[in-house]
Amino acid sequence: MATFVQQLINGVAWGSVYALIALGYTMVYGVLRMINFAHGDVVMVGAMFGLWLAGLCGAVAGPEFTGSFTAFLIVLPVSMAFCALVGIAIEQLAYRPLRRSPRIAVLITAIGVSFLLEYGGQAVLGATPRAFPRLVGGTTWTFFEQTTVLEDGSMHFSSLVISSIDLIIVSVSLALMLALQFIVFGTKIGKAMRAVAFSHDAARLMGINVDRIITFTFGLGSALAAAAGVLLAIKVQSAEPLMGLMPGLKAFVAAVLGGIGNIPGAVVGGLVLGVAETMVAGYLSSTYKDAIAFVVLILILLFKPSGLFGTPQVEKV
């Protein structure tokens, strides 16, 4: 039982990272009807920038400071702000000129931007993984500790452990998701985002500056990606240029699973995928982990093409 609950905790912590990334996919899809395949690589940019910033903090305030929670409180928002700018730059340079082009052109450009970030990152930063500092410390809390002596005389320990890293990942993700929900449903700009998502032309007629809303959406999505990047790097304690590739793809699956364009759907999709992967790796074999993620995608597309929370849409002709 302890093992099962532990696996659930592992899955939720891992799924939170997927959920954060999935939110960016879903928002951009919502307003632009495009899949921004470079999104996963913005995650990497966030982690790399966070690494640099943590190093800078360490250089300025001493190595002790690097491992402190204060450093985390500096690194996370600054990385998010930096990536918001990166996301806006990507949108302005790569996607805006193609606003009136067929959707496939934008999609291919997105893949191009993704490769540019991945391999440009390898060329500039090198491909070797770098150690990422433990920004939030390594405290663990143990519950239900139990020691049983088995028949053959050997000891058997079981306990439920929650680490500060996982706790912070889940709570930061949750906070950011709530903040996002508030922005989209509780503010004027959120209302404008929803209007743009409904129809670009109608929104424009209502006096909404569509381009500005799109820029804002990219900035917001990229900031969330940066948060995911920093949290992911803290979790695995390393960062490298290809680190966003697989999580990015999985988060895309999560977004589709939840119903692309739907914010709570992305969160649920991420959590479901994280827990499913953990359970597969824990109880079956890690070999099937990635396969399962994509089988889930195919099944969803077969039986409920609009995703768990998505509403079926009629393609406008």
Partner: protein, 389 residues
Amino acid sequence: MRRLAFLGSILALALTGCPSSNTGTATATATPAPVEEPFIKVGQFVSLTGGTATFGQSTDRGVQLALTEINAAGGVLGKPIKVLTEDTQSKPEEAKTSVLKLIKQDHVVALIGEIASSRTLAAAPEAQRSKVPLITPGSTNPEVTAKGDFIFRICFIDPVQGQVMARFAAQDLKLMKAAILTDVKNDYSVGLAKYFKEEYVKLGGKIVAEESYSENDKEFKAQLTSIKGKSPDILIIPGYYTEVGMIANQSRELGMKQIMLGGDGWDSEMTAKIGGKAIEGSYYTNHYATDDPNPVVQEFITKYKAAYGGQTPDAMAALGYDTMRLTADAIKRAGSTDGDKLRQAIQDTKDFPGVTGSITIDKDRNATKPITVLKIVNGEYKLAKTIAP
């Protein structure tokens, strides 16, 4: 015209095989090769980039250090040796392409290459087909030299390494319940886990859990939680340094206190850097120890540090150094760069005094030599024991 000159310079760079950069300034000025080669060309294919980049970079540094010494002493057969380096990007398919290029285009007389067994396995058939002797510094999977009589290695093989790990765990540490976490995408890891298991069970040990992961995974908590439920005494991780540190950290986050034991795939400063406190007190088997009092070892370390800004050489650097020196020695003994004669000379290697121990090539083209066990103490790798095969 300017364009043409630019193209020419690119061509010159390509021909001199610049990626290795250490000799870059010396060789970049060389004009495209004339008919009679003024040097003996040896090809090197290593992972300078990619997941296991530190393996390749270290090997290359070792090779370049040996090369400088050999050429300073007048080279071999009256000519200096030139090493042409290709980057395999840590990918098996690139290893094969690199070797093909070195053989067909650069006409190298011998090949040095790859630490990772999966990559040497991909490249070896090409070397065998073209009858160019290949010496791998660090591929420990037994399959590698079975690819043909032109494929050699100067390191121990995984069955021996696995046995030593098992003996160390069961007899020295006296820990009789082990859990294994294998990288299923990696020939080396799968092989080492298998040989460990065979010997460990023979010695009375019990494998309580066997879990797996795949190269480039970042999350191991699911597997570790399963392992934790079985309460092993020791965690066996026959993988590479890229994942070991993460596994160690995540096991501690789950409240697991078991020490870990691994193979030579751990040998990189990244293991201790990423693993931090979590990896303290763990052990791994390796080719050599930097605190080995043997003067051959200490002399090498001093020279290496002088050449590379005080950096301490890891085992891959030592193996690269030994491979280059053994290759030069074999060319000298063969008195020729002819493939068959060179092959025979390498085969006849006996008691070659290497940094990684005395090297004798056996009939299966493997090196027989002792294995060292290192312990991670305060982020440094200390000699714990030397075990004869």
